[in-house]
């Protein structure tokens, strides 16, 4: 890396960030992760991998009643549409900042940590949805999961307005 201001002849380990993985979720806060990830990649001259999880509802139940096939198909369609929307927004942001980026999808959130390792990413960027620690655990939020499973550092961004300032 040539653009590392302040680095001496004896650089500490882990200074180089050449690949940044940004987790895109189906939430409004995901834009914060994309912005932070792209800014980080730009500062390090790194490339960005946007990863999203277009998770189809496994057994979509509403008050104990299974939705009809058409309703489920409609939900899946909408989920894919949202994923495409977030991907397009993130790619547009990367293009705007002059950062090389690519997108891919994983079938399960548990595969993100593995994907980061197999793609040799140096950091995973994810947005905090604004819930508290216990709620995050109960609703199966991706942040605790990533911190547990990932061997690479996880950067948790705070979405602007996600939580009122103290």
């Amino acid at each position: 890396m040539t653009d590392r201001p302040g680095l001496t002849a004896d650089p500490p380990d882990g200074a180089v960030i050449s690949r940044v993985m940004v987790v895109l979720q189906d939430s409004d806060e995901t834009q914060a992760a994309a912005t932070e990830g792209v800014a980080l990649a730009r500062a390090h001259g790194a490339e960005v991998f946007f990863v999203d999880i277009p998770e189809p509802p496994a057994d979509t139940l509403v008050e104990g009643l299974q939705l009809s096939v058409t309703a489920r198909a409609h939900l899946i369609d909408e989920m894919h549409r949202n994923a495409h929307h977030h991907q397009a927004a993130a790619l547009g942001l990367a293009r705007q900042e002059g950062v090389s980026a690519q997108t891919f999808s994983v079938a399960s959130p548990h595969l993100i940590a593995q994907a980061a390792q197999s793609q040799s990413c140096d950091v995973i960027v994810v947005a905090n949805t604004g819930h508290n620690a216990v709620v995050r655990l109960l609703i199966g939020d991706i942040v605790p999961m990533l911190i547990t499973e990932s061997s690479v550092p996880v950067l948790v961004c705070r979405a602007p307005g996600a939580r009122p300032e103290r």
């Binding site: 302040g6 500490p12 380990d13 882990g14 960030i17 500062a43 550092p153």
Partner: protein, 183 residues
């Protein structure tokens, strides 16, 4: 991108990883490192059992300050070695996460680096890890690093000498195949 990075320093072994990574990022961004240590709280021993050792609040405070100074000096040395401008600070309060978040806000830090032990999410909550609370209350992004942290760059460097190993495996595997052919 980052101007001032708050690095959480504590007595755990894993805290060294946070110092190392935090200093590396500070060096890469030309940022200042702020090493922050949360002082332990003095709790009055429970009354239904006589305490083994009675320690006065003053003694406890003096001891905590001495330990903090030792930890922060060691951290500052790492930053000095990497030619990173650094400061040290201590704080205390009812909740460690709030204390760190407040320090980051007051000192205008734009990143917090904290280390996590390789536990699961529930254990982090039950053992009083600062990470879950910090993620909730922090006004700035939180970088969670782990003991086994091996960045992609390091991983790439590690897989470089893979070819000779493959040859050795192939050589070792050859007699096996021959033996199978005879049978």
């Amino acid at each position: 991108m980052f101007k001032r990075i708050l690095i959480v320093v504590d007595q755990r072994q894993v805290s060294r990883v946070a110092i190392k990574q935090g200093v590396a990022i500070a060096a890469a961004h030309g940022a200042e490192a702020l090493f922050f240590h949360v002082l332990p709280r003095y709790t009055v021993p429970v009354a239904d059992m006589p305490p083994f050792v009675m320690i006065s609040p003053e003694e406890f405070r003096r001891d905590a300050h001495a330990k903090a100074t030792k930890l922060l000096t060691a951290a500052a040395l790492v930053a000095d070695k990497a030619v990173v401008t650094n400061k040290t600070a201590t704080g205390g309060g009812e909740d460690d996460a709030h204390c760190i978040a407040d320090a980051a806000r007051q000192r205008r830090c734009d990143l917090i680096v904290a280390a996590s032990e390789g536990r699961n999410a529930l254990l982090r909550l039950l053992t009083g890890s600062v990470i879950p609370g910090l993620i909730t209350v922090s006004p700035v992004p939180v970088l969670v690093v782990k003991e086994s942290a091996r960045t992609g760059s390091e991983a790439r460097a590690a897989v470089m000498p893979k070819k000779p190993r493959r040859k050795a495996q192939a050589a070792g595997g050859a007699p096996l195949r021959r033996r199978g052919a005879r049978a």
